[in-house]
Every structure is written in C-alpha cells, then in structure tokens.
C-alpha cells in the first residue's frame, strides 16, 4: 500500500540550531513530494515540493528539503530555527495512480517546537 511515514510525533529544537523533520515514503514510481506547515487553527500552507532535478529543494521561510531516492526519504531542514517556526508539519506524496488529479497521501504530521 502507498504510505508516508513521519517517524517523530514531535521534534524539539533550540532557537538558532539546525532542525530536521523526517519523512520517508513507500510509493511506486516517481511521485511528487511536498511539505506543508499548519499553524494553530489554520489551514495548510505549502512550503516546498520536489518533482524532478536537483535533490535539494529550497522553499518558503528558509526551509529546504533533501530528496534521497535510494532511501525513499524527503527530510525537511532549516539551518537556523526560529521560535516562529513552531507548528505542525506534514509531508505528502502524490498518489501515482491518481493521474492528473493530484491526490495526495499525507503523513501523520510532526509537531515542531522551537524553544528560546
């Protein structure tokens, strides 16, 4: 079955330190990969995506993600965390059988807490 795993329910980081939020996927073919962020009582905001090309993708708010095909991973990173980065982060992959319909398969989410 197609699935996305975010192995950490919560990640705690001190402000100014680098952060990594992990994502691995089990999807056939060459899916598109996405990261979204959700602030309290808000919808999801798009951060970045990988479709093809360079394995390091840069996105909004200083975030980047590294695609690793052999490990089927797409980890989200930021060199220096801010308290305002504290939020819920979702990894998603496109369902390879959905054609052009853009169905997404989501991970369970990882709560990032950045402490001053």
């Amino acid at each position: 079955a197609q699935s996305v795993a975010q192995p950490e329910d919560q990640v705690n980081v001190a402000e100014g330190n680098p952060l990594t939020v992990k994502c691995t996927y089990s999807v056939s073919g060459n899916p598109y990969l996405f990261w979204y962020v959700q602030y309290p009582n808000r919808g999801l905001q798009f951060l970045l995506k990988y479709i093809t090309g360079d394995n390091l993708v840069k996105g909004s708010y200083g975030f980047e993600a590294e695609f690793n095909k052999s490990q089927t991973s797409f980890h989200l990173k930021k060199p220096s965390a801010l308290v305002s980065d504290s939020a819920l982060y979702f990894c998603a992959v496109s369902d390879p059988f959905s054609g052009g319909y853009n169905k997404l398969i989501f991970g369970a989410g990882t709560r990032l807490a950045v402490h001053p």
């Binding site: 996305v4 329910d9 919808g43 999801l44 979702f90 998603a92 853009n102 991970g107």
Partner: protein, 111 residues
C-alpha cells in the same frame, strides 16, 4: 493571491442532523478535494472532484457525499451526522503538479 474559503470555521451539530460544508476557490482550478484531519492520522481524503458534476471517492467516503454544481464550489454533505465525524475538515483545490491550496478548515463537533 490564491484563495480557498470555507463557509464556517467552527460548527456544532447534533447527532442525526444533515450537515453542509461549503468550499469556494477563486483560482479556476479543476480539481477540488475534501480531507479530514485527525490527530495522529494526518489528512485523509474523503472525496475529490475533477470537474463540474464529477466526483470520485477517496479513502474514507462512508457517511459523506459531495456536490459540485459550479466549478468554484465544492460541498461536503454529512447525510446523518455521527459523533465519529467530529473532526477538522479541510478543503483544497489544485492544478496538476502544484500540490494543493488549502482553505482554513472547519472544525466540526457532533454532539
């Protein structure tokens, strides 16, 4: 700026009531989606639509139906609300390759 709006941010309904959740997008997108979000489960797809009057079941369609009479509007209907449908409901629209643009969500409580 891209915009997806949902009719209510918070909704409280009684068991057995018929519930309508409305979603409107202003980007002329063909694809629209309804997800529900539950802690520890991420987002799960309920239904999606790829054109006016067209719909497809997602992963958890039981207890729900949808309507898309106009391109910009996609409605989710709970025919007879139950307590296990208490959740956050998120609408999204998209074009291929862009992921999705999400609305702010409707937090539904069924008592």
């Amino acid at each position: 700026d891209v915009k997806v709006t949902q009719s209510s941010r918070y909704l409280v309904k009684r068991t057995g009531e018929k519930v309508f959740l409305e979603c409107v997008q202003d980007m002329d997108h063909e694809n629209m989606f309804w997800y529900r979000q539950d802690p520890g489960l991420g987002l799960r797809l309920i239904y999606f639509s790829y054109d006016v009057k067209m719909k497809e079941k997602g992963d958890i369609p039981e207890g729900y139906s949808v309507s898309r009479e106009k391109k910009e509007r996609f409605s989710l209907i709970l025919e007879s609300a139950s307590t296990n449908q208490t959740s956050m409901y998120l609408c999204a629209s998209s074009i291929p390759g862009t992921g999705g643009y999400f609305g702010p969500g409707t937090r539904l409580t069924v008592t």
